[in-house]
């Protein structure tokens, strides 16, 4: 059964075209992916990301359970802070990447769309195996998630709350009353711009919040944004999409997530990661900009001097750069910054330059 967001009817009246993604029928675009993309880079956009999952982790062992099952030592994450991390199998490959929020005596985890059951079951199994007194509860159907992203996002939602949103620091999270609704706000997002995400329950309250934010952002030219632009926005920043970049089993070292690995604690998958790190010869996720015409797509081969050195996991036309951009796994010897590789697009070789993310720099909008 394909699920629909509680905002489906509102989105339809706003002109959304829909697509199926991870079991959800969600807006892919309202007007044009390019226009929506540039709106977020330059001003502000609002996304319904209810397809993402919500899992409460409660009980005296909640912190211990998160530390055991993720790259992060949860004891280091203070109250009202959130953290990006990943959950690994014993073999070191990623089950899902996720954010968890520390909210007083419990944690809310946001696994990817369609990963709710897998993650919830995994956490509860591991709690049982390791005698940890904690419970993971899949509450995905109880929440609507809205993302307000772009340089004017803070100004727009500030109009709807008495809380000074400036006090919600980067990756901060807290309970808030916004647009007349008690919800959770976090200073997080998937666009590389200033942005916030709201967790709203019960779902029926979300439509009014969505409308009020559209109204509050009117002066800034706010637009509703679909999943099409969400994908191009994240790819320009080199952010991972689990279904693409972890497909087939990849470790956080391969995905170049070393920054998020806290080696000072024990976690499931750590032993295998240490072995891989020691060997060092693994493929690494690499960002590329095409210097010839062409749009790389998933599964395109990456070559150097005619020899296969990797494969594209995500590719698109960058609305900011107007060039093809891609991410893919590349052999460690061929991913030096500025080096030129060939991406095979329908039997034609298109030259691309290796870059370090973000593919589109932070100050792009102010310079364009």
């Amino acid at each position: 059964m394909v699920k629909r967001s509680p905002l489906f009817n509102l989105q339809k009246t706003l002109g959304a075209r829909f697509t199926e993604f991870a079991g959800f029928e969600m807006p892919i675009q309202y007007s044009s992916i390019k226009e929506e993309h540039l709106t977020v880079r330059k001003t502000v956009g609002i996304f319904d990301v209810s397809h993402m999952s919500n899992v409460w982790i409660t009980g005296p062992g909640a912190e211990k359970l998160i530390s055991l099952t993720t790259l992060e030592d949860a004891s280091k994450i203070e109250n009202n802070k959130s953290q990006y991390t990943a959950i690994l199998r014993e073999d070191g490959t990623v089950i899902d990447d996720t954010i968890f929020m520390h909210l007083e005596d419990k944690y809310m985890m946001i696994p990817n769309a369609g990963a709710d059951e897998i993650v919830t079951n995994w956490l509860n199994e591991k709690a049982k195996e390791h005698n940890i007194d904690a419970l993971a509860e899949n509450v995905s159907d109880d929440y609507v998630i809205l993302a307000i992203q772009g340089p004017k996002s803070r100004d727009a939602i500030q109009k709807l709350t008495k809380t000074d949103i400036k006090t919600v620091g980067f990756f901060g999270c807290q309970y808030i009353n916004l647009a007349g609704v008690d919800c959770i706000i976090s200073h997080t997002g998937y666009t590389g711009e200033l942005g916030f995400e709201l967790q709203i329950t019960p779902p029926k309250k979300a439509e009014d919040v969505f409308k009020k934010i559209l109204e509050a952002g009117k002066d800034y030219g706010i637009r509703p944004i679909g999943l099409g632009a969400r994908d191009t926005l994240r790819l320009e920043k080199g952010f991972i999409l689990a279904g693409n970049e972890f497909k087939g089993g990849r470790t956080p070292l391969e995905a170049v997530m070393s920054y998020f690995i806290n080696w000072d604690h024990d976690f499931i998958g750590k032993d295998e990661l240490l072995k891989q790190k020691e060997k060092g010869d693994y493929e690494r996720l690499t960002s590329m900009i095409c210097i010839e015409k062409g749009i790389p797509r998933q599964d395109c081969e990456i070559k150097k001097d005619g020899k296969k050195i990797g494969v594209v996991t995500s590719g698109t036309m960058s609305p900011c750069l107007n060039s093809g951009i891609a991410m893919g796994y590349v052999h460690p010897d061929y991913r030096e910054k500025e080096s030129i590789v060939e991406i095979m697009i329908r039997d034609k070789s298109v030259k691309a330059k290796v870059v370090r993310p973000p593919i589109v720099p932070k100050d792009w909008a102010s310079q364009n």
Binding site: I33, K34, G228, K293, G294, I295
Partner: protein, 126 residues
């Protein structure tokens, strides 16, 4: 959603339009097709002089999220391609029936023209 259909053109059920003038067929994609595809950001055109058979893939039109093959509505030799699309593929969105044409074909088999749809038949399928 925009769905303009011109009465002086022929069509295919895969949303190409064909304008026949003597032995030449000018080919593009319909207003309905460009509207479904949305922002067109890349077009791959065939080489002039290439012999093509009806139903063969002749062009690739890409939007931000999708790759769409365009098929030859008629057999013949490619005599001209719209080079402007290489620099400005968005012309297809702006002017699908005029500035945004794709290729011209020298028709090799006139009887194939009878297989094409007229505007009324095309309207029924969109």
């Amino acid at each position: 959603m925009s769905n303009e259909v011109k009465s002086d053109l022929k069509y295919t059920d895969s949303h190409e339009w064909i304008k026949i003038k003597g032995k030449t067929a000018k080919v593009g994609i319909t207003d309905h097709a460009q509207s479904e595809l949305t922002d067109i950001v890349f077009v791959e055109l065939p080489e002039v002089g290439k012999e093509i058979k009806k139903g063969e893939e002749i062009c690739i039109v890409e939007s931000v999220k999708s790759v769409t093959e365009i098929y030859a509505p008629i057999s013949g030799k490619i005599t001209n391609v719209n080079k402007k699309l290489e620099e400005s593929p968005e012309i297809i969105n702006e002017s699908p029936y005029d500035e945004g044409w794709l290729i011209e074909i020298e028709i090799s088999n006139n009887s194939e023209i009878n297989d094409l749809l007229d505007s009324d038949s095309y309207k029924k399928i969109i």
